[in-house]
Symmetry: D2
């Protein structure tokens, strides 16, 4: 048996733990393991380093490392491959047959695809074409519907909570309002959990459109009494009632340009400063949320997912994704796993907890 | 409505977050909140500082603090109160009626009891006597059966995983075997999770009696090849096949004396050193596992539990414990919650993951 | 004896440790201690909470807290007080006599002024007018000339080094260039130390004007061979050869507006992206560098400074600043302490170390 | 030019940063670098893996790792080599000529010896025999006299301070006295700095023999008033007035046996518990102080030492040790560097600070 591992999309703390668990579990069964470097492009173009053999040595000491030793990429969907034509136009072609042929040529029996919504949709497409595929869920944002949670999320929340904690002292010392922008374009889980644990006063998430007047009222209320400062946590996809989200990095634009156009935190800081007259500062946590050593929770979860993926292969249970259904791991069909994303329900207990604690959502 | 909060038994990171969430949630409903200082003793003896009023100010900035602002104690079970008789003997008397009268005298309508197996058994006893009680589960060891997990556990695992990580570098540099003793007298959850995330080579837990020969074989195996060192993680309640656990602190004995008698880590280190000839060192993590700032995961979980406790009071749902049934919080009867403890099942996926990764359990 | 403590300017981790050490040391001598809240404004306007008595209780458990329990402000220089005239114009007036009268009225014998260049210049002005003053140096940027180092700097460097470490994994996984903007308008110490410890590839500081071509060459060089990613650390005051610094927050402008205009990190990320074609992202660490728990190094240094300040008062040695002259603390005249700022010398061993390790400075 | 690096004695956070800095600095000059594996034994016995070539690849990403990639050992002094005779007795022989011949045979021009008192004494012995040697100071304990400080110390202090912080919450919750044993057989620097930064109530160090009665008085005093708990920090070499130190691990004894005999923390906890009647617990931080990622301070210091060592080689300045003379690095003769150890002076400002803050030393 020869299995290949692919890590796709944005990196998340715990990817290396998955790679280690799949590799060690498979080697114990006498199987071979290879890693696909930097997405499928290398495999499609038969680049010499597109595949790398994974041994006990190659996965030693990687559990605590962020990133992925295989590299990753947000580009290169084999089902919808962007190709430039001689006339300068771009067409999307389906290269999945070609990719499956490449797997075949390299003697790969099973693909373990570790990824989020995008990568798992690709994995599902390949599964539907007959490739034996096991999916492993990966999302910082916690927006995958078919698993209670996946690795990376709690590490991002920890990083964000620590950052909010640091801002408390400087906000308090200067009686400032601090606006912190966290990840979450479509789902506000990171902002909600980190805002709650970091005792933010205002939390704005995509699921609850906000009224800037109510946000400013909540800010002002924090200056009454002895507290005298305010922490506003905002998910990057938060949006005003009747308005649209203000993304920092739009598709196709250069990073520097977009940053200068500003994101939601900058817009909010300016609005709050103007309307309340309070000294207001913004901070964008950005890529700090993706990097670094996974928390202990995420290390064990990632290792469990990796080992469970090998168990599914042993059982011949393909076309599935491993999923956390506490306290156990189970398998869900890939098609079901990518059917829709998980956003914060208005009546989830975390939302209700925040409201009971007096957090304002601007609604 | 006037509610009282009690924190009992060993301290756990997250207790203060529970206190804050109960207090803020109750104050928003216009209720009064008091804290019971250092267990029930003060209340029974009507000590002047036995009760303290909890306000927004008293719970400000405590979410990130370890310990409990109310103090706690392992002594003083009102159902089985140890009392010295004039003749020097000790008898156990039931002072629960007296305690319920004290609650009455202080105008307390509901008791929120935050504790582990022992404290919740007391809470259940009081509930059976007619007191309106809500339980909040607290256990570092993760051995409460009626909740998926509770606050404190993942913080302890994080602390233990970090410690194991620190020992890796010194173990590797000196080609040593390090034996690390973690908490867990009856349940090996901390050792299992921390050992897995910290990539220990051997994990010994109460649920899997070990054969010292097999442990030593596993140690020796780590010196074959290039690795050349070994990490053994042992729960304090681990025991040899056919033998008994070697506790560090026995009941009634002074701390210093017991420490000198040594615990399981010292015994194991000596046995491994003698049988394998490997340089072996031991470390007892002890109280470091109880203290310090809760992880982000535990902060939010503790806050959710506290808010849910107030919701149960609102709903008039007494005699229950709040419980995590992911992704939501629900209520379970107190009697059910304390009926039995939760140990590591041999076929749990975490155990199977460890075995797939090559961890030895000495069995 | 009655002494007053003032914390001025931006907050820095360790301020509370200074307050605790001054307070406990003074109380042991039987002195009284008061804290000046939020700068001199409250004292000048005789606001009721402008002064707060400091006791053992008020300084309990504050050593590990960031910020300052007294509050601070960047506004309100009593020597150059901005006052609005009826015609709308603003004049600067000298209110130092008024302030000294206020000290007198409140029976304050000595002022302990904890601050950076600005606050210590004020302190020196007050000393020249006859007030008994002891200065305690505080600067995140490490730009005070008369002390080897002061508290706050190494905490900021630690935070920045950790952040750079987090970005490594995501940079490597995606083969990106990450541009990280750190504090330092006139002195590049934070960028130099954090860049060195965080193993950055390029470090740009105010002291070494850069050539963008050379920066891009250095970036490209990191993609040759196996590394395939690049970390650029830039102090906010770094400037191109012959050009000017691009500050994020200019004087007088609102925070949001300025953030949108962008700072040096955004400019650099755009330039590098355009010239090298490499995927480039920027991150501005901002206020995270000011906040949070001080490192152990900064805690002890701040405590030593506080205790030394009280010793100088005991010795009647006024008009001085405590200063670290390793391994001891000594006193330097305030006038000397604020005479000039300390920038990175081109031949300092830290610079030479960075160059020996292959770090590019763009020169 | 071909240089060899040796890391000797106990491991310390920062060793790998020295190795990286020496290697990168030397490679830039076109030199070759080899690492001596696990002390001199491999070299003396011509073991095949006794020397390993160091390249850019071998030192990539090691700055943040604890331990040493070369391995280390506390055994094997080539000047006093223990050799078993056929009759069972052991003799010490001088194998330094043999070792110098081995250096010659492997074409090694210069030895960079990274170590503490013991390793540098060996290095000095080799230098006196004519080998070109550069020393780099390494000591967790901060007891090397000829350098202001060296890497490893501040990381150990940080770890110890964090641990004391964790114990505060559990001590306070249970109104306990916690006795924490830290490293330091002859010098109390770690206990003094960590005790000060961790706000311990009692600090016992080898330099100040203690009276157990005075220690207990200080403990009791902490229970007067509202605090109600006590933190005692003790260096492993602390000793009662007129008594001797109680080491945990005596020479020649097995680790387990020694641990059971107990160290100073256990003895103290028992004495305090008996005399004061306070609930007392002990914790031995042990190897946790050696391991883990270096602090940012130690990373840069270690890198600076490594780069400075190469500069000394370039300048032909042999027989020296690099040393921190803030703010610069300078060279001191090896003979001077190992002449005596640095203990805590009674009148050092850190001691005086602790006394001003009310810390008891039991004297």
């Amino acid at each position: 048996m020869r299995i290949a591992i692919n890590t796709g999309g944005g990196d998340a703390p715990g990817l290396n733990a998955v790679i280690r668990a799949v590799t060690l579990s498979a080697l114990r069964l006498g199987w071979e393991v290879v890693g696909i470097r930097r997405g499928y492009e290398g495999l499609l173009s038969d680049m010499p380093d597109g595949l790398v053999k994974l041994t006990r040595d190659s996965v030693r000491g990687i559990t605590h490392l962020g990133g992925t030793i295989l590299g990753t990429t947000n580009r290169g969907n084999p089902l919808k491959w962007s190709e430039k034509r001689p006339d300068g136009t771009t067409v999307e072609i389906d290269r999945s047959d070609e990719l499956i042929a490449a797997f075949d040529r390299h003697g790969i029996d099973v693909l373990v695809a570790v990824g989020g919504d995008g990568s798992l949709t690709i994995a599902n497409g390949l599964a539907e074409k007959g490739l034996k595929v096991i999916g492993v869920p990966k999302t910082i944002d916690n927006d995958l519907a078919s698993t209670a949670v996946t690795f990376g999320f709690h590490t991002a929340v920890q990083t964000a909570t620590d950052a909010i904690g640091r801002l408390h002292s400087t906000a308090e010392a200067h009686r400032r309002t601090m606006v912190v922008e966290l990840m979450g374009r479509h789902a506000g889980w990171i902002a909600l959990f980190a805002g709650l644990g970091g005792t933010a006063d205002v939390i704005l998430i995509p699921e609850v459109p906000y009224d800037i007047e109510k946000v400013c009222e909540a800010v002002d209320a924090r200056y009454d009494g002895d507290r005298g400062f305010c922490i506003v946590v905002v998910a990057e996809g938060a949006q005003p009632i009747g308005g649209e989200a203000t993304y920092r990095n739009g598709a196709g634009a250069g990073a520097g340009l977009m940053a200068r156009l500003g994101g939601i935190a900058d817009v909010l800081a300016e609005q709050i400063s103007e309307r309340t007259g309070r000294e207001t500062r913004s901070l964008v946590l950005g890529h700090l949320q993706r990097g670094g050593e996974p928390t202990a929770y995420d290390k064990t979860l990632a290792l469990r997912f990796g080992a469970a993926a090998v168990q599914l292969i042993e059982e011949g249970h393909f076309g599935c994704m491993v999923s956390l259904d506490p306290p156990e791991i189970r398998a869900v069909p890939l098609a079901e796993a990518v059917a829709h994303i998980k956003t914060v329900p208005a009546d989830s207990d975390v939302m209700l907890t925040a409201r009971r604690l007096g957090v304002a959502f601007g609604d």
